[in-house]
């Protein structure tokens, strides 16, 4: 089957490094899907075929893995995917308010993508940032903590200018208190 997707030589080199970590090739499935998603922005069936071919594994296996894990995009998404956490601690601290604010601001619902292809919104399960609720993650990358409407406005503006927010290091309150 002709494939519209191709790994770059750098990708292939990275995949070789990944394979070297394990005694078998199958464990490279998840990391290689990551390489593919970071390259193409999704792992649609054609990309799954490419991963299977590259690793010489059955397509059914790669498909099974890609569909099991939520972070792999099985269809094209917006350039920036806003994953708003709405599980327990975030729910208690206004996660849904933040989600609805974003939905109104961008004119789409969770699970949808803006017409210009810039933004997708998802309501997601616990991201492990419970003390900094409400929070969201942008396109499987940086965490944005302690969200407010103002903070969301700023983030959206900066993303429109193709600028990802910086990683925020949240220290131990115990430390700052004593110093």
């Amino acid at each position: 089957m002709a494939n519209n997707y191709e790994f770059t030589p750098e990708d292939l080199k990275e995949i070789e490094t990944i394979k070297a970590k394990f005694p078998e090739v199958m464990p490279a499935t998840l990391p290689t899907l990551w390489v593919a998603q970071r390259r193409f922005g999704h792992v649609e069936p054609e990309v799954q075929h490419l991963v299977a071919e590259t690793l010489d594994l059955p397509v059914s296996h790669v498909h099974g893995v890609a569909t099991f894990y939520t972070q792999y995009y099985k269809e094209k998404m917006g350039k920036y995917v806003l994953d708003v956490c709405t599980t327990t601690s975030c729910q208690l601290c206004g996660g849904y308010d933040m989600l609805h604010y974003l939905e109104n601001k961008l004119g789409i619902k969770a699970g949808e993508t803006t017409k210009d292809g810039m933004f997708s919104i998802q309501s997601v399960e616990c991201l492990g940032a419970c003390g900094y609720a409400p929070m969201m993650q942008i396109t499987n990358d940086v965490y944005v903590n302690n969200l407010t409407e103002e903070k969301l406005d700023e983030v959206i503006e900066s993303l429109k200018a193709d600028k990802m927010p910086e990683f925020e290091s949240v220290g131990m309150p115990q430390h700052t208190e004593r110093s």
Binding site: K21, F22, P23, E24, M26, P27, A28, T29, L30, P31, L33, W34, H61, G64, V65, F68, Y69, T70, Q71, Y72, T86, T87, T88, S89, Q91, L92, C93, E125, C126, L127, G128, A129, C130, G131, Y132, A133, Q137, N140, D141, V142, Y143, F167, S169, V170, G171, M172, P173, Q174, H175, R178, S179
Partner: protein, 403 residues
């Protein structure tokens, strides 16, 4: 308990600037415990016994003595043996291991190396949830630095001990925090928990002996070697000792991760450590150790301490010490419905009672939440839960039924 928590000095995440850098870590005594166990004074059995005596109860939720777990590994037969470090940290309310990756990664690396020596493992894998991309990068950097300094690889510090150490990431699946599901995921498959027995110590990664430990658990190991098992077991609660990372979230003034001894009174943690309830509200409920531990009523927390025995008496568990605090305005049905959605979403689908049961829990709770609940729905919920508990391969269905 008259313990003065303010005078406690953190040891898992001490207040030392830039401790994540290997040079700062080594200047502060880092990797000395590794050097110590690799010296002629120690052998693997002695390390296992020391850690067993310290009684480090697993910080990932199960609370099992780490050294005892290590002792279940069969005798070396010349083939590969593995240590798999669980950094999946997906339990709602839990956000502590990422603090170790960020602020003291080498303590964890050192602990894992000592564990690998004690169990004579040939390779270590650390599995970190895919969402923690930023922290995966931090661990990759820390591991590279440790390789460069000769703490990992062939003939470590001239001792003749060889071990490889790799970091690998998940891709969004709560279930991969269950230890055998994590092994499946590490092997590149869907994260379906395995039927036990055989236990991982007999048949783990690629069918070889494997031990799985939580990141915080392993981070305690260098401290035990450095200060002795008696020091460790003398901290905090007698039957559940040591320093622990409490992750406090929800309706408190100062949420965050705090390192303190086990056995801290729950109310001290909420009212003093975390700065009390937001807006002066009353405490309605507490989930003490991540969403899978049963919720406790706010008016029944007097005298309850954060250790396995005290929490069991109160009707819950220590779990991951990820405490979710709820104030009087919390809509408990709304909260319950959302967490049932979580378990339904995260059920791997392997066992029918869980796959179907979590879905029905969510549907019934949604019905009640929407105001259409009937008394018989409560009976149905209880009946449903009794059909789920203990009837599945892993504990996800139990967790869904307990909350």
């Amino acid at each position: 308990m008259s313990f003065d928590w303010k005078s406690y000095t953190p040891v898992i995440i001490p207040d030392i600037p830039n401790l994540h850098e290997i040079d700062v870590y080594t200047k502060n005594g880092g990797y000395d415990s590794l050097k110590e166990v690799l010296s002629d004074d120690w052998d693997p059995t002695k390390v296992v016994n020391e850690v067993k005596a310290a009684n480090i109860r697993g910080r990932g939720g199960a609370g099992f003595n780490a050294g005892l777990k290590w002792s279940f590994m069969p005798k070396p037969d010349g083939g590969p043996r593995y240590l798999a470090c669980n950094g999946d940290e997906s339990e709602p309310g839990t956000f502590k291991d990422r603090k170790i990756f960020e602020y003291n990664p080498h303590l964890f690396i050192e602990g894992a190396l000592i564990a690998a020596y004690a169990m004579q493992c040939s390779a270590i894998y650390v599995y970190i949830r895919g969402e923690y991309y930023s922290w995966i990068k931090m661990m990759e950097k820390a591991l590279k630095d440790a390789y460069d300094k000769g703490f990992i690889g062939k003939n470590i510090l001239g001792s003749g001990f060889d071990v490889e150490f790799h970091v690998t990431g998940g891709a969004g699946a709560y279930i991969c925090g269950e230890e055998t599901s994590m092994l499946e995921s590490l092997e590149g498959k869907r994260g379906y928990p395995r039927v036990k027995p055989p236990f991982p110590a007999q048949k783990g990664l690629w069918g070889r002996p494997t031990t799985i430990n939580n990141i915080e658990t392993l981070s305690c190991v260098p401290l035990v070697i450095k200060n002795g098992a008696d020091w460790f077991s003398g901290i905090g609660a007698e039957t559940h000792p040591g320093p622990v990372l409490y992750g406090i979230s929800g309706h408190v003034n100062r949420p965050g991760v705090y390192e303190l001894p086990t056995g801290m009174p729950v109310l001290t943690l909420i009212e003093e450590v975390a700065g009390g309830m937001r807006n002066g509200k009353k405490l309605k409920g507490l989930i003490p150790g991540g969403s899978s531990t049963p919720i406790l009523r706010g008016d029944a927390l007097e005298g309850v301490n954060m250790d396995a025995d005290s929490l069991r008496e109160a009707g819950s568990m220590m779990g991951t010490a990820g405490m979710i605090v709820m104030d009087e305005d919390t809509d408990m049905v709304e909260m319950l419905w959302r967490i049932s959605h979580f378990y339904h979403h995260e059920s791997c689908g392997q066992c029918t009672p869980c796959r179907e049961g979590t879905g029905w829990l969510e549907k019934i709770l949604l019905k009640i939440r929407n105001g259409d609940g009937e008394i018989r729905d409560l009976e149905l919920l209880i009946d449903l839960c009794s059909q789920m508990e203990g009837r599945t391969i892993c504990a996800l269905a139990d967790a869904a039924a307990y909350y």
